[in-house]
Symmetry: C2
Subunit: 295 residues, 2 copies
DNA sequence: CTGCATGCGTGCATTTTTGCATGGGTGACA
DNA sequence: TGTCACCCATGCAAAAATGCACGCATGCAG
């Protein structure tokens, strides 16, 4: 009874995904290939591993057991690759960074352009996503996160503190100032149930017009005049269309960190990007905490 | 930075073997394939893994690290396959047994023939070797061993006790009887420094004519008249050319066990062979302890 | 020094693996 | 009920991996 290691990896992907297409995506092959590798593995082992159902491939207990073993193999593989990357002392080759979309758009893009110019041998990949990528599984080498704690096995470097501000179109702000007790429209982030308490202290009557699960959309909604919205100051402060609600101090918000896996601490590329990020954010510290730029 | 799992397995084999041909043997592929897989892995990782030397491939520290990870992956893979085999309740498919050559020649061969007839669906592979195969690495499902202790993670079933006897050609035996104080020639197993003490008590003067590290050769040497030799009674007792040295009680020797991995305890095939072995050895118990067959 | 065993690299034909295109089935939804 | 979005199986052609044959270097024994 023999088995091909890549077939085990395929079984793992299929158990995880549940469908041929899903597994194929994860492995960057076609689903036909997944189907045939599974078929081959079943022949090798002399027993069926998956039940073919109209809604997908259903894993038998045997397949699940193989997948558990394959998952443990994967941990070993990834640890080895991380260690290998960690040994890498050259400023060349691939380097992957993940960061929140908006931070890239507003601040990181020009910085990264400079970094690439300074390090022409580094092949930088940027994954602009709000999803939390798994640094342990090497989905990225570095992650810029807006969060309060680094996380397991990860090494964090604090880049900047952040505060939030409440902004809206000038006419809405003017209305609120002229009559603080009038009902104020809000657009808020999904998950928050009410506008910030400090705002309610000044403007107690509110109506929630909409909720969005995406900051870009939230900004667009505010610009469309849907209401007031709370956002990190780096987004609100320089937008010519939006204006802060007066009388409110900026509120604390989760700081910005850059994280990497312990194993990559010694990697020259990772260190280079961390150092550059630290320098960059030092010059821009106020962007994230001060409502108005200093003269 | 990506890597193919079978390439990791190849790196492991190459680090272990040190040469392309050796790794190729272990993997049952051609050495060309090993060379090309390594080349591909090196390209993927963007760094060399082996130093090509005239005497073979020399692993770099990176390759050794990858190999260590791959070895841990291998442990997982093999554990999974063992568990899978353990679930196997059918009396069909592959089954591998390892046993000492001589035991197969003299006793096991007819027994195994019967077992195969009784279980025509089982595809039995016999590995006749004196090397201790690794049941953990699934080099065999069952092992018949001449040894005092089963070993780690293995489950043993005692098949028979054994004794040894000292035999030689009739003329040598006759000479020893006629003059016990004459110098007696011996052929002994490598590792033993002297003939057995109980023999020296009766025949104190000895000369070691040769040492052999292989029992078959030892027997041939005894038959060629090189001297007296000590061997398990199952080998000596029925050989028409050889005769026991009189006055010596059979001496204790390591018993015969059949071993299998814990994970395979539930496998129907493994259990079937164990049961059959136990029954067979019960009827042949005396072959291994009595110098003369009973009338 | 020569023959021989062992080890490596490379070009080429063969085999295997892969992806694509097509067809069929099922369930959600207007 | 028709459409759409997902599933899956299979035939076929392209692409990749493999094995083989050959040539070359090295170390060792006679």
């Amino acid at each position: 009874m023999q088995i091909n290691w890549d077939d085990m990896r395929t079984i793992l992907a299929l158990v995880r995904a549940g469908t041929l297409a899903g597994a194929a995506d994860a492995l960057s092959v076609s689903y036909t290939t997944v189907a045939r590798r599974v078929q081959r593995a079943e022949e090798m082992l002399g027993r069926p591993l998956f039940e073919r159902r109209p809604e997908g491939y259903f894993a038998s207990p045997e397949a699940e057991e193989l997948a558990r073993a394959a998952a443990r193999m994967e941990v070993q593989e990834q640890a080895a690759l991380r260690h290998l990357s960690g040994r890498d002392q050259g400023l060349s080759g691939p380097l992957t960074l993940t960061a929140p979309q908006l931070l890239i758009q507003t601040h990181l893009a020009p910085f990264l352009a400079g970094f690439c110019r300074d390090n022409p041998e580094i092949e930088l990949t940027v994954r602009a996503t709000n999803d939390v990528l798994d640094l342990t599984r090497r989905e990225a080498d570095l992650a810029i996160r807006i969060s309060k704690s680094p996380g397991d096995n990860l090494v964090g470097l604090h880049l900047a503190d952040q505060k939030t501000t409440c902004v809206a179109l000038p006419e809405i702000v003017a209305g609120a100032i002229s009559d603080p007790s009038a009902t104020l429209d809000w657009v808020i982030y999904t998950g928050h149930s009410t506008p910030p308490k400090s705002a309610l202290a000044l403007y107690p009557n509110y109506r929630i017009r909409a909720r969005f699960d995406d900051m870009t959309s939230l900004i667009a909604a505010a610009k469309a005049g849907l209401g007031v919205t709370r956002m990190p100051v780096y987004l609100g402060r320089n937008d010519p269309e939006l204006q802060p609600l007066p009388g409110l101090e900026p509120q604390d918000y989760a700081p910005i960190w850059v994280l990497s896996h312990q194993d990559l601490l010694q990697s020259a590329k990772v260190r280079a990007l961390k150092v550059a990020l630290k320098q960059f954010f030092r010059t821009r510290r106020d962007d994230f905490t001060q409502i108005q730029s200093l003269p």
